[in-house]
């Protein structure tokens, strides 16, 4: 019992705390960039005609249609073949951003398409340009409608950030794997890791619910 405690406090937790910092450094920028690109891609998919729309649709189909692990492998191990080198951390953030933006774009597209055309006409009739209509009328509403879906995607992102270790970016899961294989205490280690992820997801869910509450508007979308 005592020995277990020493292992937990002196070996496992310091390693996992180091890892969770890296995880957060992966998750936070990927989530923010992912939402941002997701809005751009979603807008292109909903309203962009011709080439732009086709490009955005193709991108979403590609990144939603292939496993994230494969995308990370290509970014980190494949691209050096054509002379593009990324640090593991950079490759992971790029991979997560591109993947989660593809999923966000789907929720955003749905949100955009749910806005009644009449409101667009009303904005135009007041002299709004297409761009100001998009920014001030459509996106604020579409974002509220897309928020539950996008929040779900962020929860996924927290968990799939664990894939970064396959391209040697040692975040939470990576650190755990090192400790586990050195000490052969697989079940203890991964149970504690599970608790870490559960904690991250709980905090994120709470924050997202707070955000939804703050953005709540009477009679809107419910």
């Amino acid at each position: 019992m005592n020995e277990e405690f020493v292992f937990l406090l002196e070996r496992l937790l310091p390693a996992l705390n180091k890892g969770v910092i890296v995880s957060l450094q992966l998750i936070v920028p990927s989530a923010i960039l992912g939402i941002f690109f997701g809005v751009v891609v979603g807008a292109c998919r909903a309203f962009g005609g011709g080439f732009l729309g086709a490009l955005a649709n193709g991108y979403a189909a590609l990144f939603r249609g292939t496993p994230l692990v494969i995308q990370l492998f290509i970014l980190y191990f494949g691209l050096p073949n054509v002379g593009i080198y990324f640090q593991p951390y950079t490759a992971a953030v790029i991979g997560f951003t591109l993947c989660s933006a593809a999923y966000h774009s789907e929720y955003i597209r749905g949100g955009l398409l749910s806005i009644k055309r009449g409101q667009v006409l009303a904005a135009q009739a007041l002299g709004f340009s297409t761009f100001t209509t998009l920014v001030w009328i459509i996106i604020p509403q579409a974002f509220r409608r897309a928020l539950p879906g996008c929040g779900n995607e962020i929860v996924y992102l927290i968990k799939y950030s664990s894939l970064a270790y396959v391209i040697t970016c040692f975040e939470l899961t990576g650190q755990a794997k090192i400790v586990a294989s050195e000490t052969f205490r697989f079940s203890e280690v991964f149970m504690v890791v599970g608790v870490y992820y559960l904690f991250l997801v709980t905090v994120a869910s709470y924050g997202l619910r707070r955000l939804e509450k703050r953005l709540e508007i009477p009679g809107f979308g419910h």
Partner: protein
């Protein structure tokens, strides 16, 4: 407002045609709108009233024909000219089209800020004044979902008026309202007419038309087939299509406005 034909029209619609989905909705429609005038469009649904109004604001770009405002023609291919033009031509829709994510005050102030470039405080003050004018001074903080249909339509009128339009186009502004809410909206529109706002309104409110319209335009199959003062067109025994149509809708609805 009797005879203004000596003046130049404020807005001139000349020979506009519009096809939608392979169907000819407007067939060479022309009209001259003089300052302070109120024209009423009447006619069966599908006759082209809505399309005409939307073309007059370039929400739909006509296939042929021209629209002039104060003698100036607009090039609909130039986005900036179009936005400028639309600021001068207010539009009221049948189903209000308020912005669902904004309060009544914000619905009115947003275009002032984002289109006219007013400061937040200026826009808010103006919005409050406009809401006051339509009798909603105490409802500014409410969202569209918290307003009745009549209140929503009055907010949408305030929103259009805040842009200081030269012309207002009203597309059946009371048709989506419960009967008991119609009069509060008509009262606001009557006030506008009495203050000399230039308007074109599609409506089936015959009592209102009789008392306020300077001219009635009867539209059918994309054409204006009769036009004249309500007194002439709606006189008993005048034998006009307008009278025929109006007596039909009165039969159905049971009463005038």
């Amino acid at each position: 407002m009797a005879n203004m034909n000596t003046k130049t029209p404020l807005m001139r619609v000349h020979g506009i045609s519009k096809e939608l989905g392979g169907r000819e909705i407007l067939r060479s429609v022309s009209l001259d709108l003089y300052e302070g005038e109120m024209k009423v469009l009447i006619g069966p649904s599908g006759g082209g009233k809505s399309t005409l109004l939307q073309c007059m604001n370039y929400l739909l770009v006509p296939d042929r024909g021209e629209i002039e405002l104060e003698g100036r023609r607009v090039d609909p291919r130039k986005a900036r000219e179009l936005c400028e033009f639309r600021q001068h031509v207010g539009m009221i829709f049948q189903d209000f089209n308020l912005f669902d994510h904004l309060t009544a005050t914000e619905n009115v102030s947003i275009a002032l800020r984002k289109v006219k470039g007013m400061s937040r405080a200026q826009a808010k003050a103006r919005a409050k004044a406009e809401l006051d004018r339509v009798g909603l001074a105490d409802k500014g903080h409410l969202y569209p979902a918290e307003l009745s249909g009549g209140q929503k339509q009055r907010v949408s009128i305030a929103r259009a008026l805040a842009m200081d339009p030269k012309v207002m186009l009203l597309d059946e502004p009371t048709s989506a309202l419960d009967p008991e809410l119609v009069s509060e909206v008509l009262t606001v529109i009557r006030g506008l007419a009495q203050n000399g706002m230039t308007m074109v309104m599609a409506t089936h409110q015959m009592g209102f038309t009789r008392s306020l319209a300077d001219e009635v335009l009867f539209m059918q199959e994309g054409r204006i087939i009769e036009q004249g003062s309500p007194k002439d067109l709606l006189a008993e025994g005048s034998g006009t299509r307008t009278l025929d149509f109006c007596s039909q809708i009165l039969d159905v609805e049971g009463a005038g406005a």
